[in-house]
Every structure is written in C-alpha cells, then in structure tokens.
C-alpha cells in the first residue's frame, strides 16, 4: 500500500465561498426558527409575563431614583425592559446551545463540522445566525413593549442594534461553550439551574446595583463580576443613545473569551472531539 507522493491540485475557497456558507447557515437557522412557532411564542411570552405581571406588581415596592442613562424618574417597567431584552438573548443563546446538543445527538451537527471551510468560521457563522434570531425576538418584544408605554427615543431603536449584536454574540458564545461540555440533552436542565437563573438574578436586570449594594455588599460584587450585568447595562445605555464604556469593554472581552473557548472546545483533538462516542458507536 503506497503512500501518495503527489497530491490533487490545491484550490482554496474564495470570499464567495465563505459568503455562500454564511448565508446558507443564516438561512437554515431562520427557517428552523420560523418552523418552530412555539419557540418564538415562548421566547416572547417569558419577558412579557415579567413585564405585564411582575413589573406591575413590583412597581409600588421598588422606587427607582434618577440614575444614568435616565434623566427623569422612570417607571419600574421602563427600568427592567433592558434586562428583559438581555433575558431574551440569554435564553436564545442557551436555546441555541441546546439545539447544538440536540443536533449532535441526532447527528445533524456532523454535517456542519465536516464542511471543508474552517471550523472557526462555521462556528462564528452559527453564532451570527443565533444572534440574528435573537434580534427578531427582541424587536418583536420592543414593538409590544411600545404599546405598554416603554418608549425609548426613536433613535434608540437604531443605536441599540450594535449592543444587541455584541450581547447576542457573547451569550451565544457562552451557550456554545457550555454545549461543548454537555454530552446528553438530559444534562441540559442543569444549565437552567446553574447558569441561566444565577446569571439573571445576580445582575442589574431587575434592580439597580446601588439597591443591591445596600442589601448585600457581597452580592453587589458578584453582580459586578457577572458579564450579564454588563450586557444589560450596555443595552440600557445604547437604548438611550449612550455608551457605557465599562460594560462595552467587559462584554467585548467576554465575547472574545467565550468565542475562543468554544472554538477550541469544538476543535478536533481538543474538548468534545476527544470523548468516546455515545450510543454504542465505536
């Protein structure tokens, strides 16, 4: 059995090949999202329940002082809207990672991973697709919220877009990183308890950090270290045409870190690729 001395002529992909692949992945994820109406509805109902019920009840309990970026006293509903937007993206990121675990169990993930395009590019495309889906959900929420008197400046709907993309990427990358470490769908319930709930509640999504500091200095520092807090604040400021530089730096750094971690975790020879196959395949 001879070893080849010659090889087929090399021909790499042009930029067109990358664009085709990216648009193909975006198209597929959008189609899947549109086919899963229940997913869209539940993605909307969750924050709306918080907005219509929780915020209405909590309004009288928690007073919000004038804090940046707000220039006047605001209703509690207005305060938690950015947190609920970030919550949509958090759940979407985790939903994406859940679908990656499902795809891996069902085998669909292999189709993606055996593409000849670089794996980092495939994973980034998948992240972008997840972010696109989260944007659709967020703007549907903002539309409904507008009828509930949550009316940021018109320009805010545009200035919030880059913040949403960055936060969507960060939370999607976190989900992807988590999915690389989960072998079975059954284990995913733990993500709810150990990732989603702690991230959401130990943040500025539901209450301002100065309020937290008054109650528990330790929790205040936990909230400060939580990247989700900074996603909420980045969105909050961007919705009013401002930039929270600290939050931007934290979210950008976390996005880079989680994305790099996910790419390494999905690299053959590292992370998930090293584990024994499930389901009796050997």
């Amino acid at each position: 059995m001879s070893t080849a001395n010659t090889v087929l002529p090399a021909r790499g992909f042009g930029i067109g090949g990358y664009v085709t692949c990216l648009t193909g992945i975006l198209w597929r994820e959008s189609l899947r999202f549109l086919h899963q109406r229940e997913r869209f509805i539940s993605a909307l109902v969750r924050p709306l329940v918080w907005l219509f019920i929780f915020a209405a009840g909590f309004r009288q309990v928690l007073g919000i002082s004038i804090i940046p970026p707000y220039e006047t006293y605001i209703l509690y509903e207005v305060y938690i809207a950015p947190g609920l937007i970030a919550m949509i993206q958090l759940f979407n990121g985790m939903q994406s990672s859940l679908s990656m675990v499902y795809d891996r169990e069902m085998g669909n993930m292999r189709t993606l991973l055996v593409s000849p395009l670089p794996r980092w590019f495939l994973l980034l495309s998948k992240l972008l697709a997840g972010t696109l889906v989260s944007l659709l959900q967020v703007f549907a929420f903002l539309l409904i919220a507008w009828f509930w008197d949550i009316t940021p400046p018109p320009l805010g709907y545009l200035t919030v877009l880059p913040a949403l993309i960055l936060c969507g990427l960060m939370l999607g990358a976190l989900g992807m990183l988590i999915s690389s470490g989960i072998r079975q769908l059954e284990n995913f319930a733990g993500v709810m308890n150990f990732v989603i709930f702690p991230m959401f509640f130990a943040s500025s999504a539901l209450y301002p950090l100065w309020r937290v500091q008054e109650g528990s200095p330790l929790l205040y520092y936990v909230c400060l270290c939580n990247p989700f807090t900074h996603a909420v604040e980045l969105i909050r400021f961007a919705l009013y045409g401002q930039i929270n530089w600290l939050s931007l730096a934290v979210v950008a750094a976390c996005t880079a870190m989680f994305t790099l971690g996910a790419i390494l975790a999905y690299d053959p020879g590292r992370g998930f690729a090293r584990r024994a196959p499930a389901g009796g395949e050997t």
Binding site: L8, G12, T20, R28, P116, L117, R274, G279, T282
Partner: protein, 266 residues
C-alpha cells in the same frame, strides 16, 4: 449536467490512479484507557469499492470520525488524495462525501432545503446548488419528493437523499458508515446498486463500513477490522487464499477467531 463546482477537481486519469483516494497510516486512537484503534493502515483506491468489515465495536465509527475530522488524530496520518487531514483539512474534506451511521438530515426541512444547506456548507452558490440538487434528485429517483419534508420519507429514501447530499459537491471519495442499517432487504440492495453505479460511472473511491458480509461482492477490496486492529486487507480472492476458505464468511470467522485466541483483543 457539468458545473464548475468548488468541490470538482479535474486531472488526468493516470494521475488520479496514482494517488490513493484515502490513505490511513499507523492510526491509533484511545478514549482514556480504552484503545479503540491500534496501528491501523490501509489505502482506498480510486474507482474501487473497499469494504471496511468488522463486528460492532470493531472501531469502524471511530475510524470514520477520524477520517472526517470529527475527532483529532492522536497517532498516525490520514490523507485524502494526498492532502493530510490534519495539515490541510479544507483541501482534504473537499474531496470527501460522507454518509454517517445516524441520520443527519434536518427532519423539519424539505429534501431540497437540506440539499441547498449542504451545498452552502460546501461553498456552492445558490444557482449552481439548485441545478446540481435537481440533477442528483433525478439520479436517485426522488425528483417528485423535492419539496417533501424529510420527516415524510421512508428510511430507504432518507438514505438515498443522504447519498445525493454527500455527492453534491462532486467528491472523489465517498465514505459510508453502516449506511444500510435499519433498512429492509430491497432498500439495502437499492442503495448498494446506486453506489456501485457511481463507481462505474464516475470512478470515485468508496469506503463502505459494514458488519454485513453479504454486502461485499467478489471483486471488492476488503479491510477486516477487529478490536481496533486490521487483521488483513486486499481483494476478496486474496483473503480467501490467505485463509484457505471458499467464502468470505468462513474466512472472516477464521481470522477473527485466530486473533481472539492470540489475544489481539483489547
């Protein structure tokens, strides 16, 4: 329907014949302390049907995962048409079409949508992809099911779609891992007939991982894998003369029993 697809490569037949479609050299793989493959070496020639024969647990799926770069190679080398899968994965994978053991189609998308998605992953632009998909569906006799949800297809039809999908980008090596598992006799024969026609028509190399001896014909090449080791490799006639048996079933038994007695088992 000839299209200049990104996956297609043109070269003289003589040059094609000189390069093994697949070359596996000294590959070992372990999951912790469990050794799934030990020093596996063999080639797959262009225009040949090579059966990777082994019982369940022999290491076939691990080998498939290494060839497709789902797992990283721990020891040894794998190259496809001379392109090392580790050093030039893009160039190697472009030559490869794969049908995995588990179904890998998106059940909620239509047949055509599945094919177009795969074409996009291969960098094939939409216009060419649609034409090529239509062409492939005609070849596997599923033109009328193009807009059907995959979920509505039978097991045999799904496999045919997966084969069509694997061939969309004109690979020169086709890898099928237990592609007929769960299919009835007629569907199995149908899939095998399609694959053998492809070899005759297009001269592609095929690596067919299976544990079913009746899927192997007299003029095929065979690699027998047992407990992660290659027991023998070559044409069926070579294996028969090596084992001094009259059929592959008996030859396979003789080799595996002897290996077990020698203690080749992990």
């Amino acid at each position: 329907m000839e299209q200049d697809l990104p996956g297609s490569q043109h070269m003289p037949a003589s040059e094609s014949a000189a390069i093994p479609a697949l070359s596996v050299t000294g590959v070992s793989h372990a999951y912790g302390h469990h050794h799934a493959l030990a020093d596996v070496s063999f080639d797959v020639a262009s225009g040949r049907f090579t059966a990777l024969l082994g019982l369940n647990g022999a290491g076939k799926s691990t080998l498939v995962s290494l060839i497709t770069r789902l797992y990283g190679i721990q020891t040894g080398h794998i190259s496809i048409f001379g392109h090392d899968i580790d050093r030039a994965p893009g160039l190697a994978l472009r030559q490869l079409g794969v049908v995995f053991q588990p179904r890998t189609l998106d059940l909620d998308l239509s047949v055509m949508q599945n094919l177009l998605y795969h074409a996009a992953l291969q960098g094939i632009a939409r216009g060419g992809a649609r034409a090529r998909s239509t062409d492939m569906l005609a070849r596997i006799g599923l033109t009328e099911r193009a807009d059907s949800k995959v979920r509505a297809l039978s097991g045999g039809q799904m496999r045919r779609v997966e084969i069509a999908r694997a061939l969309l980008h004109r690979p020169r090596l086709l890898l099928l891992d237990e592609a007929t598992v769960g299919l009835d006799v007629e569907a199995r024969a149908d899939i095998l007939r399609h694959i053998r026609l492809l070899i005759a028509d297009e001269g592609i190399g095929v690596l067919w991982a299976t544990h079913l001896l009746d899927e192997i014909s007299a003029d095929d090449d065979v690699v027998i894998l047992h407990h992660g080791r290659v027991l023998t490799r070559g044409a069926v006639s070579h294996i028969l003369s090596q084992t001094e048996t009259s059929d592959l079933d008996a030859g396979f038994r003789r080799l595996t029993i002897a290996a077990d007695r020698r203690g080749d088992a992990r």
